[in-house]
């Protein structure tokens, strides 16, 4: 990266420090304002309430999306995560959440940490471009709160190394008030960036709750061809049944059209590329770091040779919950489907004959589906709260290999209160994974990658399996009403994907 200059750095530090200092010094206690959460002691857990809509405990950070505020738009998950301590968000395009973004907790990105909707994992297999989480599809239109768990210390969340980000959806209300809550929002900003959204949230006769929302975001982008349009539809219906049971169905759908940044360099060694330099856009060189899903530099062509992808993503969920005995039964079925059509240049593309290395609308899909059966929060002996469950997941590429990974796992966790001060949380999760894996073509004696490898070549693949127990233990100690201490140790397992 080019040097930004010490003077500009100094100026930035000066401005940040100065503005903060001014705000602190002119703050006068006692003036009336909107009611905001304060640091509170709830039983044995000390809670930090740093901002409206944010609570931090020893276990997790909880963000209430409707209350969370920052300068600028709060439209997608990464808009929130950029502001949270300990989370790295590296953006290719800061104007909208992009498929090229990278999010990490403690140095580990979405290939290791887990992203969830209502407690179920949405990470894909990473086949065809290591594409595991599409941040552009995770709009917050229907999200009530976000929970961030640092570390893989909870056995309730599978395959978590580094942490968990769990988005809890709005599911409608149990109410006999016929008037729903309705909201509309819109905004416009530089680089022709705009967004519009609307939502309706309510219930009918204490029997059905509903939440529906829709939004569109659009930007020309900052870099050349870095445009993006995202349309989102979300719907949730909750049925309030006898015996305090609920059945909820939910759907999130996004349609993203996204342009790959193209080379914009007057000194590019390809004279055809250099001749197409457009000084309306910043320089973008082919030596730039490669995004996870774009292996090769993209040429500055338009029309039918425009590098881009179109992607349709659906997140479908059905959740049944019912109090039963000392605990609550939960059955959660889920389905994630991604379908993308990629138009891009491959290795060795040149403006002399750009069509030769251009692939138009190459189709790839991915699907994750599964079911979680859980008996949770089972109160035993006044001091134990036990959760036990089992999960089945299939992850694959429907068009080529529908089940790349078949995962069966079971888990149990006990939250043990020892007096008023100590809490122990032991747990263990067992995994059994069947997987399709592939040899490298070089391992099989080929001089170069054969056509159709690995699906249409002999001796390309094999099956494998793996299993094991992965324990965790967390100890919380409330030393004083103002001081909470904790220690945790766990062994975590990662789905062996890219």
């Amino acid at each position: 990266m080019k040097s930004t200059g010490k003077r500009k750095q100094f100026w930035n530090v000066f401005l940040v420090t100065g503005l903060t200092f001014i705000m602190v010094t002119i703050s006068i206690p006692g003036l009336a304002g909107e009611k905001e959460p304060e640091p509170i002691d709830i039983g044995t857990i000390t809670v930090m309430a740093p901002q409206p809509g944010v609570e931090i405990t020893t276990e997790k950070t909880i963000i209430n999306v409707d209350e969370f505020k920052k300068p600028g738009e709060v439209k997608t998950l990464t808009d929130v995560l950029t502001e949270i301590g300990g989370i790295d968000v590296q953006r290719a395009n800061p104007l909208m959440a992009s498929p090229g973004d990278e999010v990490s907790i403690r140095g580990l990105n979405e290939g290791r940490m887990v992203i969830e909707i209502d407690g179920r994992r949405i990470n894909q297999t990473g086949h065809y471009g290591r594409y595991i989480v599409d941040w552009s599809t995770l709009n917050l239109d229907d999200i009530e709160r976000i929970e961030i768990i640092r570390g893989g210390h909870s056995v309730l969340h599978p395959f978590a190394i580094g942490g968990v980000i769990n988005m809890i959806t709005k599911k409608g209300k149990k109410t006999d008030e016929p008037k729903p809550d309705v909201s509309f929002k819109g905004g416009y900003g530089r680089y022709d960036t705009y967004n519009v959204s609307g939502s309706v949230d309510g219930g009918v006769g204490n029997i059905v709750g509903y939440h529906f929302s829709a939004s569109r975001g659009d930007t020309d982008g900052y870099l050349r061809n870095d445009f993006q349009r995202a349309d989102n539809l979300n719907g949730h219906l909750s049925f309030f049944l006898p015996s305090d049971a609920t059945f909820t169905v939910g759907a999130k759908y996004s349609d993203v059209d996204y342009g790959f940044p193209v080379i914009n360099d007057p000194n590019d060694p390809d004279p055809g590329v250099a001749a197409r330099y457009d000084d309306d856009y910043p320089k973008f060189k082919k030596s730039a770091d490669q995004l996870r899903h774009i292996n090769w530099p993209q040429l500055p062509t338009t029309g039918s040779l425009r590098p881009e992808w179109k992607k349709h993503t659906s997140y479908l969920d059905g959740i049944f919950q019912m109090p039963l005995g000392p605990g609550t039964v939960k059955v959660h079925g889920f389905w994630t489907e991604g379908r993308r059509w990629t138009s891009s240049y491959g290795k060795g593309a040149s403006m002399k004959n750009p069509e030769k290395k251009f692939t138009k609308d190459e189709f790839v899909d991915d699907r994750t589906k599964g079911i979680i059966c859980e008996y949770r929060d089972i109160d035993l002996f006044d001091s134990h709260s036990v959760t036990a469950g089992a999960e089945y997941q299939e992850l694959g590429w429907p068009d080529k290999d529908p089940i790349i990974y078949n995962v069966k796992s079971a888990y149990v966790q006990d939250v043990i209160h020892l007096g008023d001060r100590w809490t122990l949380t032991p747990g263990v999760r067992y995994y059994y994974v069947d997987m399709d894996v592939y040899y490298g073509w070089w391992e099989m004696g080929y001089g170069s990658q054969p056509p159709g490898w690995p699906f249409n070549a002999d001796n390309a693949g094999k099956t494998d399996n793996d299993d094991g127990f992965y324990p965790s233990l967390k100890v919380d100690f409330q030393a004083t009403p103002e001081t909470a201490l904790y220690a945790a140790v766990s062994r975590s397992y990662r789905l062996p994907c890219p």
Binding site: K8, L15, V16, L31, Q90, D289
Partner: protein, 201 residues
């Protein structure tokens, strides 16, 4: 390739000093058979920016660091959160190292600071400030990337009329015009200004 697993250790504390509250945590992860995604860069002889799909196991990758998060509240007008993160990693040799080998944690800074603050200028009118400092780190091709500081500011006003709640806000991101990149080669824009309006009923 072998599956990957990790031992994770963590110690932490939350201390409430009434006016401000602090969270501190230290962590150490020892990842066995780390599946290294080194599949984006390949030798320069293949051409700049060329890619491949190489994955390999590394016996041990260790990540460790500390987090410090502090919140302050002064009256009903001012709230701020500041966080500092220090992180490092070490990687066992595999014998496959080349000059173009890189590891994903290399691309993240050792030192990072975030600040998010709000000040109520008048009733339901909030000035907001967000700032981030990101220390030097590497690009995929091993070149150093400079540290940067960015600052975003905004103002939001809410008001109620005829049982409806209205909201209007303006913002300017990267208000100091910092020249920076979060991913090497991807310039970030300066002075990204805009507005938002909304209504609830």
């Amino acid at each position: 390739m072998d599956p990957e697993s990790a031992w994770e250790y963590e110690l932490g504390i939350i201390q409430d000093f009434k006016v401000f509250t602090v969270r501190a945590a230290g962590w150490y992860y020892d990842i066995d058979d780390f599946i290294n995604d080194n599949g984006i860069t390949i030798p320069p002889s293949e051409g700049p920016g060329a890619g491949t799909d190489c994955l390999c196991n590394i016996d041990h990758v260790r990540l460790y660091g500390g987090e410090l998060e502090a919140t302050i509240k002064l009256g009903d007008r001012f709230r701020a959160t500041a966080s500092y993160v220090y992180q490092r990693h070490s990687v066992d040799d595999t014998g496959y190292e080349h000059g173009w080998t890189y590891y994903l944690p290399d691309l993240l800074a050792r030192n990072k600071v975030k600040l998010l603050a709000r000040y109520m200028v008048w009733e339901d009118g909030w000035f907001q400030l967000s700032s981030r400092y990101v220390d030097a780190r590497e690009s995929q091709k091993g070149e150093g990337m400079d540290p940067y500081i960015t600052m975003d500011v905004g103002f939001e006003q809410k008001f109620r009329f005829d049982q409806m709640e209205y909201m209007a806000s303006i913002f300017c991101n990267n208000v100091t015009g910092a020249d920076y990149e979060e991913i090497a080669g991807y310039d970030m824009p300066e002075y990204v200004c805009g507005f938002q309006v909304g209504v609830k009923f």
